[in-house]
């Protein structure tokens, strides 16, 4: 019992220490978002603002159409995430549990697509986008990011742990492959899908380079491009930049808080026993 308490407290201490490191920049961001520009840069720095400027947050939405940027980013991130989750669960399941000719080669081919830096793909992808009429459009922002090896790879690894027993049990019940997937395999994957969903949402919410390349007009900007507007060539409004960053991080935080129960729910795989 004594060791258990010691263990519990040492774990807590570790978590607090690590938590400070993880949390500190975020705290700095929030703190700066309430300061005047001058105070953000003041030395020595202070965590608590001397004067509070909550109007910074108003400026974020009035100086630039930040609400529009958030809407654009939301449309892109949600669409990509929802479609990608479904498609990658399908592919991952097939690659992990089904036997078909060329499976190994296709898997290698799929993860090979992650092995080229994005800069190398920029120019040809832009050309393809132009041909397909995707310039300055939501299609151009969304479609290129739906097929992505990361999610396929992750779901495959996840489904590698999918018990054969469940699959066999479904077969005995007369379910075909597709039904097994949709009715048996998919429901047991919600924690992993929730994890992947958050990752994809953040990835697309935070995407900077591709939206920069594919969009031109001010109405199509996404959140990261909106953030950088607070940085000029000769001066930066640090406090507004931080306030905008705080606003930008809220949707991902909310999403995480909502989804984390799913992630930690664990999985009850009925039918394994015996």
């Amino acid at each position: 019992m004594r060791t258990s308490a010691l263990r519990r407290w040492s774990i807590r201490a570790l978590m607090i220490l690590i938590g400070i490191v993880m949390f500190f920049p975020f705290a700095w961001m929030v703190s700066s978002s309430f300061k005047s520009n001058k105070e953000v840069l003041a030395y020595p720095p202070s965590l608590i603002p001397g004067e509070w400027h909550p109007e910074n947050f108003v400026h974020v939405f009035t100086d630039v159409p930040f609400a529009l940027y958030m809407l654009n980013s939301a449309i892109v991130a949600v669409t990509v995430t929802v479609v990608a989750l479904i498609l990658h669960a399908m592919s991952g399941y097939a690659l992990a549990t089904l036997r078909f000719r060329g499976r190994e080669a296709i898997f290698i081919g799929i993860i090979a697509t992650m092995m080229v830096p994005f800069y190398s793909l920029l120019v040809p992808l832009l050309n393809i986008s132009k041909t397909l009429g995707w310039i300055d459009s939501f299609a151009g922002l969304i479609i290129p990011w739906i097929p992505h090896a990361f999610g396929i790879f992750l779901m495959r690894q996840h489904f590698l742990g999918f018990p054969r027993e469940l699959k066999d049990a479904a077969a005995v019940d007369g379910a075909g492959t597709l039904r097994t997937f949709f009715q048996v395999a998919l429901p047991t994957s919600y924690p992993m899908l929730a994890s992947l969903g958050i990752i994809y949402f953040i990835g697309n919410w935070d995407r900077f380079l591709w939206p920069l390349i594919i969009t031109n007009s001010p109405e199509m900007l996404t959140v990261p491009l909106g953030l950088v507007q607070f940085q000029g060539q000769y001066s930066t409004q640090w406090n507004l930049l931080m306030a905008a960053a705080v606003v930008a991080s809220i949707p991902t935080l909310v999403l995480f808080i909502l989804l984390q129960k799913r992630i930690v729910a664990g999985v009850t795989m009925s039918g394994i026993k015996g």
Binding site: N37, K38, L41, A42, Y43, D63, L122, V123, L126, N127, S129, K130, I135, L209, L212, I213, N216, S217, P218, L225, V228, Q229, F230, Q231, G232, Q233, Y234, S235, T236, Q237
Partner: protein
């Protein structure tokens, strides 16, 4: 849609023909987006994002659009760090580039030799040419071809914390030795003596040029046939920056071109120029900013570079004449346009008539900006070097500042890289372009 009623009132025939033609065109085009004869041409004008310049340019464009029915200019802006490399270059590569855009001296050689910019000299009247400082068009003129129109002149100088210098009883340095001494003296645990750019990019080169020039050094010879940077003058200029870093007098890492460190009190001086002055005034009202000429070596000549962007026309634009019209209208005609912009930016202009107006502004009557006026006529434009040469210089600076490389060694390495480049086909192409 514009009605042609005014034309038709006089000639009924013309009205009928036009009406029939318009009806046919409308039916034929349906909802298609292609511009018909009456729709205005859209010109895209690209530049980097800057909150100070944005309202001025939007106003100018609105004015242009209202005065020109056949043209609609759209301003599209992009983050500064990615503007030329990621955005303009890739867009041109895919054929989705702009009609008119801003280009810098450091990058003009990425575009001009490949024929990607439209020469503009046919729009430069004698009067207009005479209105520019002789050296202002140097960097974007090759032979007879003028590839851009400059509007601003960010002059370099030494900015310093006047209050600090007075309270510490330190004289503003005029020579390199004095600079080293003053930096060392004003250096404390939390404050560096002088701010020099630390990131390896063209801005670092830009700030270093006057140190090279005041020592009498050059990067290449006039004919662009060999590197001169490893001559004693170049080595001395490298050595200065190396010394300032080595004894900790120079700030080990600077966050950019804004000079915020001056306001924060973490540096005593900054090798910058006039462009951060308004930012400093806005954010640090307690700071007394002083401006002084950049220190020179014994026996050297005072030197300052000026930077700025140029309005250029893309050779790929489908509306060459309209694009040229707009580019010229912006800053090569009515001086008020340039006055509006440079007033907002508190920089000077390479156009004489514009600077005459600017000089009357209160901002330029007082220190520190008044201190830049005497040097504006003799300042040297940021040179247009190809990326390889700029990189060689940056490499040398980085090596002496951060790896403790000996200045002569670093300069020799730079010279070798430059000579290799000059001997290559690319170098040959640039040489013939520059010598036109």
């Amino acid at each position: 849609m514009k009605s042609h009623a005014s034309a038709g009132r006089r000639r009924i025939m013309a009205t009928a023909v036009t009406a029939i033609a318009a009806a046919v065109a409308l039916v034929a085009s349906g909802c298609s987006a292609g511009p018909s004869a009456d729709e205005p041409i859209t010109l895209t004008f690209w530049k980097y994002q800057d909150p100070v310049q944005q309202p001025v340019l939007e106003a100018l464009i609105e004015k242009y659009n209202s005065e020109h029915d056949n043209v609609k200019v759209e301003l599209e802006t992009f983050p500064f760090d990615q503007y030329l490399a990621e955005k303009v270059t890739t867009a041109m590569s895919a054929g989705t580039g702009p009609d008119v855009f801003w280009v810098s001296a450091a990058t003009v050689l990425n575009f001009a030799p490949q024929g990607l910019l439209t020469p503009l000299q046919d729009r430069f009247t004698e009067d207009l040419r005479g209105d520019f400082l002789p050296q202002a068009l140097e960097s974007i003129t090759f032979g007879d071809d003028i590839y851009g129109i400059p509007h601003e002149m960010g002059l370099q100088g030494m900015l310093y914390d006047k209050g600090l210098f007075e309270s510490e009883g330190v004289e503003v340095p005029a020579s390199w030795d004095e600079l080293k001494a003053a930096s060392a003296e004003l250096k404390t645990a939390n404050r560096s003596g002088i701010l020099l750019p630390t990131n390896p990019d063209v801005f670092q080169n830009f700030i270093w040029w006057p140190f090279l020039w005041s020592a009498g050094g050059e990067v290449v010879d006039d004919g662009w046939s060999k590197a001169l940077i490893n001559q004693p003058e170049g080595v001395a200029a490298l050595q200065l920056w190396a010394d300032l870093m080595a004894d900790g007098a120079a700030a080990p890492k600077s966050s950019g071109a804004f000079g915020d460190e001056l306001g924060q009190g973490t540096v005593a001086m900054a090798a910058l120029g006039m462009w951060p002055v308004s930012n400093l005034a806005a954010n640090y009202p307690d700071l007394q900013v002083g401006a002084a000429p950049l220190p020179i070596p014994d026996g050297g000549t005072p030197s300052a570079a000026f930077g700025g962007w140029y309005t250029a026309v893309s050779a790929a634009s489908e509306h060459q004449e309209e694009a040229k019209d707009f580019a010229v209208w912006l800053f090569a005609e009515d001086t008020q346009n340039a006055v509006d912009l440079t007033t907002a930016m508190t920089t000077l202009s390479p156009r004489i008539s514009v600077t005459e107006e600017l000089q009357k502004l209160p901002a330029f009557q007082a220190e520190p900006l008044a201190g830049f006026l005497p040097i504006w006529q003799t300042a040297r434009p940021e040179p247009a070097y190809p990326a390889e040469i700029n990189k060689a210089v940056t490499d040398a600076l980085q090596a002496v500042m951060f790896s403790g490389t000996d200045a002569q060694t670093a300069a020799d390495a730079a010279a070798a890289a430059i000579d290799t480049y000059l001997a290559s086909p690319d170098g040959e192409q640039i040489r013939s372009l520059v010598q036109k």
